[in-house]
């Protein structure tokens, strides 16, 4: 009889202990992520820094692209497709120019006096602003933050971070498609790119870009994007 009552007591007791354990779990937070909608970094859990130089999604800065097709040729899986049209003789999108990137983030666009290749080693750089370029008005607006045509500016070498030289653009890129579902992230295309316009994003936006449809993974960089201001804003926001 003693054993019988002990048995009942132990049964009830152990069930209650078990129920206490499970009800504690009931009020624990979820561990599930609704992955495509919700990422680790949104929940601020298990977030790791993406290393510098990580080979993420390919991005092409179309303004600098000269359509040389080197990336298309070197791509081992043929994920890049480029189609270009040469402009008729005498037409060009814009003239030759220099862009001076200043250390405080501003850009000055114009033509450097003297040899631009030597400009960096000199103490100061003299820049003549230009406006008289062919091409769509939007592009001209964007490329001229530094004021009136013909104004002469001088920058000391302390101010300048880098100087970019742009050749006259006589070439339209009709199509520049990168199929990221094929890409193997080898990074060869970014190495051969002569203008360094094709890069791989080492940010979260370059890592988390999963899509529901495979066709959404074909990223089309085209002229429209080139004229589209919001395109650059997106990239800045993503960074």
């Amino acid at each position: 009889m003693d054993k019988y009552i002990r048995n009942i007591y132990r049964g009830v007791y152990t069930v209650l202990v078990g129920m206490r354990v499970t009800i504690k779990q009931f009020f624990e937070p979820n561990v599930t992520h609704q992955y495509p909608y919700e990422h680790d970094y949104e929940k601020k859990r298990n977030v790791r820094e993406i290393p510098k130089g990580y080979r993420g999604q390919l991005y092409n800065r179309m303004e600098d692209c000269i359509g040389c097709k080197k990336c298309e040729m070197i791509c081992p899986v043929d994920c890049i497709t480029i189609t270009g049209t040469k402009l008729p003789k005498g037409e060009q999108l814009w003239d030759s120019m220099n862009i001076v990137h200043l250390k405080d983030g501003r850009e000055a666009i114009g033509i450097i006096e003297g040899d631009d290749k030597k400009a960096k080693s000199e103490d100061s750089v003299t820049l003549t602003n230009i406006t008289s370029r062919q091409g769509p008005q939007e592009v001209i607006d964007r490329l001229e933050p530094s004021g009136d045509a013909g104004r002469i500016q001088t920058f000391s070498s302390d101010e300048i971070s880098r100087i970019v030289t742009r050749n006259p653009v006589v070439f339209y890129l009709d199509q520049f498609d990168i199929d990221m579902s094929l890409c193997m992230y080898c990074g060869l295309c970014t190495e051969v790119c002569p203008t360094e316009c094709l890069t791989m994003k080492d940010t979260l936006a370059g890592v988390e870009y999963s899509k529901f449809d495979r066709s959404d993974l074909i990223f089309r960089f085209d002229k429209q994007e080139m004229y589209n201001k919001s395109g650059t804003e997106d990239i800045e926001a993503a960074d």
Partner: protein, 421 residues
């Protein structure tokens, strides 16, 4: 048509005087007729009202009520299956279904649509007639139980004077459907599952019935509405606190009910890891869905019966106030018990067959008999439910629980030292 009432009153038709004494079919007719006379006819134009067929209208109103009943209750499992999945997910720190509808609320609907369109496979070697019949028997019986459950003062199908007896009887027929399904499937899993189910349900009917008997002894009625009516004076008049023996009977009833509806830890008849899905292994498509719906309807039904018998039914917590009372209160109490079932499911592992039978025959049945004896003595000492009897009962329950916790203490719960063999 004019002889309609006379026909119902005739001894050939009137069930009330024949088989069961006093099933109030007549009352139901009166109610429907009053509805026609007082609500419908005054709103009609006079020319129509003069020739309005009252008898036909009465029948139509009754069919309408039946339609509401038949339409609403199959929707319960839709909700319960989703609740089960969500609660299960919560116990495992998951989210459960999330994709179909907002927060996955339409998941069961999607599953239902899928099941309707699936192939309805019939085993060629099996007994086709029984195979086709079995799901309907189980489905019909589990929904027939709802006919006697009072959801509110006037929200019930029929308040006949043998309500709880009817429920016991009709829910026992389910085991027939289970055996039919197991036999006709011509599959060893199904046969094993159905025989396990039969053994289990037959065993657990006894403590279930005996603990219902303690209630019936105190209330002196089998009618569900009368059982509820005796619990109308607040929480301490609920039958679970009426005497210490009904307190024990509640737990025996509830655990036996879990075994009756084949839920974990008593899910041997459909143990996935042993016999695939038990008696419904061979079923697919809509027939499988019928089993599934019946299972969840049963779960709700036994919880509703437990609430009606022990936890005050649709009566509230305080006398005179409608807290936890009426239909919402009834549903809340029932869902709380359903949640308790789910909680137990995710706490306890499945029992072995011998443990299952041990629990029933060595523990529940003796305790249930002891309960009946005790309730009889209690009824002799306190023939009326008074303040004194209630306070004595509550005091005994309280002291018993405290004693179990403090005096017996954890030493009893310790595993006894192994005996040298």
């Amino acid at each position: 048509m004019s002889d309609f009432r006379a026909m119902l009153a005739s001894p050939y038709f009137n069930v009330s005087e024949g088989f069961f004494p006093n099933i109030n079919l007549q009352d139901g007719l009166n109610w429907a007729e009053e509805f026609i006379q007082n609500v419908v006819i005054p709103r009609l134009p006079e020319a129509v009202a003069a020739h309005f067929p009252v008898e036909l209208g009465t029948v139509l109103v009754m069919f309408g009520c039946a339609g509401i009943f038949v339409g609403v209750f199959p929707l319960l499992p839709l909700f319960l299956v989703l609740a089960e999945r969500k609660v299960a997910a919560r116990f495992q720190n998951r989210t459960g279904p999330m994709r179909v509808g907002p927060w996955g609320t339409l998941q069961t609907l999607a599953d239902g649509v899928k099941l309707i369109f699936k192939e309805d496979f019939i085993p060629p070697q099996g007994d086709k007639f029984l195979f086709l019949l079995a799901p309907y028997i189980i489905f019909a019986c589990s929904f027939a139980v709802f006919a006697a459950i009072p959801f509110g003062q006037n929200i019930l199908v029929s308040d006949f004077n043998i309500g709880i007896f009817y429920i016991m009887a009709i829910s026992s027929v389910i085991v027939m459907g289970v055996i039919m399904a197991g036999w006709s499937s011509n599959s060893k899993w199904s046969l094993l599952g159905s025989l396990r189910s039969a053994a289990q349900i037959v065993s657990y009917e006894i403590p279930l019935g005996l603990s219902i008997l303690t209630i019936v002894m105190l209330v002196e009625s089998l009618s569900m509405q009368e059982i509820v009516a005796t619990q109308s004076n607040g929480i301490f008049s609920w039958l679970i606190f009426r005497s210490p023996f009904t307190f024990i009977a509640f737990f025996i009833f509830f655990i036996s009910a879990i075994a009756e509806v084949n839920r974990t830890p008593f899910d041997l008849p459909e143990a996935e890891s042993e016999i695939v899905a038990g008696f419904h292994t061979e079923y697919s498509g809509m027939r499988f869905a019928l089993f599934f719906i019946a299972e969840y309807a049963n779960m709700f039904a036994v919880s509703a019966i437990a609430v009606t018998l022990f936890l005050g039914g649709w009566e509230g917590v305080l006398p005179g106030y409608d807290i936890l009372g009426g239909l919402p209160g009834f549903v809340i109490k029932t869902l709380a018990l359903v949640f308790l079932m789910m909680w137990l499911r995710w706490t306890l592992p499945r029992l072995r067959v011998d443990q299952l039978m041990n629990l029933c025959w060595k523990y529940f049945i003796p305790i249930a008999f002891f309960n009946i004896l005790g309730t009889g003595i209690w009824g002799l000492i306190f023939p009326e439910d008074t303040l004194i009897s209630t306070s004595i009962s509550c005091a005994i329950i309280y002291i018993g629980l405290i004693a179990a916790y403090k005096v017996a203490g954890r030493s009893l719960a310790q595993r006894p030292a192994p005996q040298p063999s």
